[in-house]
């Protein structure tokens, strides 16, 4: 095997931060090279430098044996280095073929040669084992998994030798992840190399060949065998800690808290039917299910963001006005939504404004905001959650994923929320910060808050929740103590629907 890409001593600074501070990386033809590191370790900056989006301050990049400096993402793409970001940059209103050849269309005298493009697109999709995708289909109508395939085909259309994939599995369910791995295997068999970035160590075991670990912008280990390096070693390299998931201990004994939330037989056509469950004060209830099983729709309905077609939602035994978020919030609910950036944060605003946005009425004095009191309370809330940096006036978008999640949590802490709904609270949050979030969630429950936790990571649901609900295809299949379930049992229910 030949070295395709060699990076030595790469440095990239932004005002106030040395995001990459001496990174080394070598990628060989046809291998899957995994890049591991916590949020803020410099992975994103490193791949942005590689893809030509940022210019390095120091260090060398050698591409197929000769030193290069890509002036722009387009230059990198032309050289055969493609990057597929988490937010896929496809145009929803165009077809599959049009997206694949966007920027280098098949044309004659300015007229597009659609048949030639369609044939070429099908050829590329076949190389990925997905010749069945119609080149004339609108990308907007495809699932995240399908769009990923189109992005890969686009990379291939530029004769990519190396494809960087930034957390490709974050938007996929487990069947789709397996398919992605098959596609990756096909690509590597054709000599294409992959840089694979993921927070999920189990995936790296399956798909990876070698691993490079970044910590604080530096390469702390490189060329480790992906299949055989012990998990404990990898986690220690990334964090200095010893375990991947550190779940806080459950309090002993059964919950005696009163019933906080009662959901009675709610339905929404096409999404879920006949869903009933309860959440008690001080209890963490986990909702397990695949993407598309209706789990997010269920919690959004409980929260009033969707209106149930039938059924009742009661808080403290009082019926909640259906389909009204303000009513749910007044009743003491809070939601940390699945998509932190698009649904949770006010990205233009400072931390304190993000935290107090749900409690403005409390800080209103005749309509005016009592700002000294507001700031003091926000400072205390983010202090309690250990948001770093702890400056309430900092712009929220400069915070890392884990800290942004804490900002959304602080929003509900400030309101003395009694029922917290957490939709994928650790998505895009690194291993170290996860443990801390788990501890915080358990502490909140300890203080009497009822928690409804949605996660596609079964170990997370089993490790954190007191009671587990399992959803499949819009129906609740199981409702029982987490301690009596195993990961395989839940996985079985989630996939097959065999009621326990």
């Amino acid at each position: 095997m030949n070295a395709l890409l060699t990076v030595t001593g790469l440095v990239k600074s932004f005002p106030g931060v040395r995001a990459v501070d001496g990174a080394n990386l070598d990628v060989q033809e046809g291998e899957v090279h995994c890049l591991l590191g916590q949020n803020g370790a410099g992975k994103s900056t490193l791949i942005k430098v590689l893809s030509g989006a940022h210019k390095p301050d120091a260090g060398e990049i050698s591409w197929r044996g000769s030193p290069v400096s890509f002036a722009s993402p387009l230059a990198a793409l032309r050289a055969g280095l493609a990057t597929i970001y988490q937010e896929l940059d496809l145009v929803d209103g165009l077809t599959v073929a049009e997206n694949i050849f966007l920027g280098h269309e098949h044309s004659a005298l300015g007229f597009s040669r659609r048949r030639a493009a369609a044939e070429a697109a099908t050829a590329l999709l076949s190389r990925l084992g997905h010749g069945e995708i119609s080149p004339t289909r609108l990308v907007g109508s495809m699932s995240a998994a399908g769009k990923q395939i189109v992005s890969l085909a686009r990379a291939l259309s530029h004769n990519a030798r190396l494809i960087v994939m930034d957390e490709p599995s974050a938007v996929l369910d487990s069947g789709e992840v397996d398919n992605l791995f098959r596609v990756i295997a096909q690509l590597t068999a054709q000599g294409v190399a992959i840089i694979y970035i993921s927070h999920r160590l189990d995936e790296i075991r399956v798909v990876g060949d070698r691993v490079t670990v970044l910590k604080d912008g530096k390469t702390v280990a490189s060329g480790l065998p992906a299949k055989s390096t012990p998990t404990a070693d990898l986690v220690r390299l990334m964090t200095g800690r010893d375990t991947e998931y550190a779940f806080p201990a459950r309090p002993a004994g059964q919950h005696t808290g009163r019933e906080l939330l009662t959901v009675r037989d709610i339905s929404r056509p096409g999404e879920f039917t006949g869903v009933s469950f309860t959440v008690h004060a001080g209890e963490i209830v986990g909702l397990a299910g695949l993407v598309g099983s209706g789990r997010s729709e269920i919690v959004e309905t409980v929260y009033g963001a969707r209106k149930p077609a039938a059924g009742q939602i009661l808080v403290d035994g009082r019926r909640l006005r259906p389909g009204s978020v303000p009513a749910a919030v007044r009743a003491g609910m809070g939601l940390c939504p699945e998509e932190r950036k698009s649904q949770g944060l006010l990205l233009y605003e400072a931390v304190y404004r993000n935290v107090s946005v749900s409690s403005l009425a409390r800080y209103s004095r005749g309509g005016f905001v009592a700002r000294s009191r507001e700031l003091a309370d926000v400072a205390k809330a983010i202090g309690d959650l250990d948001v770093r940096p702890s400056d309430p006036r900092r712009a929220v978008r400069t915070l890392s994923g884990g800290n942004q999640q804490k900002v959304v949590l602080a929003r509900w802490l400030l309101r003395d929320c009694r029922l917290l709904i957490l939709d994928e609270p650790t998505r895009g949050v690194d291993v170290g910060a996860r443990g801390e979030l788990y501890r915080l969630i358990r502490e909140l429950a300890g203080s009497g808050v009822g928690v409804l936790l949605v996660s596609s990571e079964i170990p997370e649901v089993l490790g954190l929740a007191d009671r587990v609900l399992v959803v499949r295809a819009g129906r609740l299949l199981h409702d029982g103590p987490a301690a009596q379930l195993t990961e395989t049992a839940v996985l079985d229910m989630v996939m097959e629907g065999a009621a326990a």
Binding site: S342, E349, A350, S358, A361, L375
Partner: protein, 348 residues
Amino acid sequence: MTERTDDAPAAQGLGRRPAREGLQAPAAGRLGLRLPASVAGRLWELRSLSLVGVLVLLAIAGVVTSGGNFLSVSNVLNILVSSSIIGVVTVGMTFVIIGGGIDLSVGGLVALASVWATTLSSQQYGAWAMVVCALLVGMGAGLVNGLLIAYGRLVPFIVTLAMMVASRGLAEAMSGKKTQLVTVQSINNIATTNVFGIPLLVIIFAAVVLVGWIVLNRTTFGRRTFAVGGNTEAARLAGIDVRRHTALLYVLSGLCCGIAAIMIISLTTTGSSTHGDLYELDAIAAVIIGGTLLTGGKGTLVGSILGALVFTTVTNIFVLNNLASEVQNIAKGLIIVAAVLLQRRGTT
């Protein structure tokens, strides 16, 4: 500007839109660095400084081309009077745009309110009835805009475009396309009254700006406006009644149009379906060169007002030099592009 006393200490420490850019307000946050961060925030806030710079340049151009005439007290007041009516409309427009919307109907609403308030049947009840009539017409039409946009889930551009056409049409129908003379003397006197040498129209303008600034920057309504415009979905999931808030923003814009209608009635001593022509364009241009994001969530009222002043000053200089209005419009177009280019350089 005066602060409420209980808010003053916080305001001192904070800056109005503090730490909007992380790089400007470093994490340090400990006491020693608090002041610089806030000063940086202030400076950032005065990004409209570039507009102050433009105004100074314009003033120099004015002095060079027309000498003492330009800087005379009467000419400066003249500029302020000419800015006052469009300035009031711009205040409402700033709220709507920061809240993520757009209001194309402002010109039509000024015309409709001016006609409705000056019909003979309105005039016979006297000055206060005319004022109340103009305000109610403005707010009522704004409410229609707001309800259609917020609860009918229609696009603001289309709803207010329809209102722009329909309101002017209704104004023409009511007035029979005739200019309606105002015989109520106390209304006509507004434009000719001076308080301590300052025209009442300028004082009304200043009062509307002051109240608007306080509402935008010091009240929960203002906070919610930024939240709704910056990320509608996040604001909704945070428990804000986004639809009600959106509707209220258009009512507020309509109210500003009502106030502007009274001012234009007084200045011209007429109500007419031709009043407020192209106000929507001038107001939107002022907001944009003032640095407010057209997509919402980010912006300042001070910037918008400076934007309006820049436009009026350009017109004034051209009039003093007897230049044709075509040239004015070309200059205005260039100013919009130049201001936006300058700001973009400031942000990235």
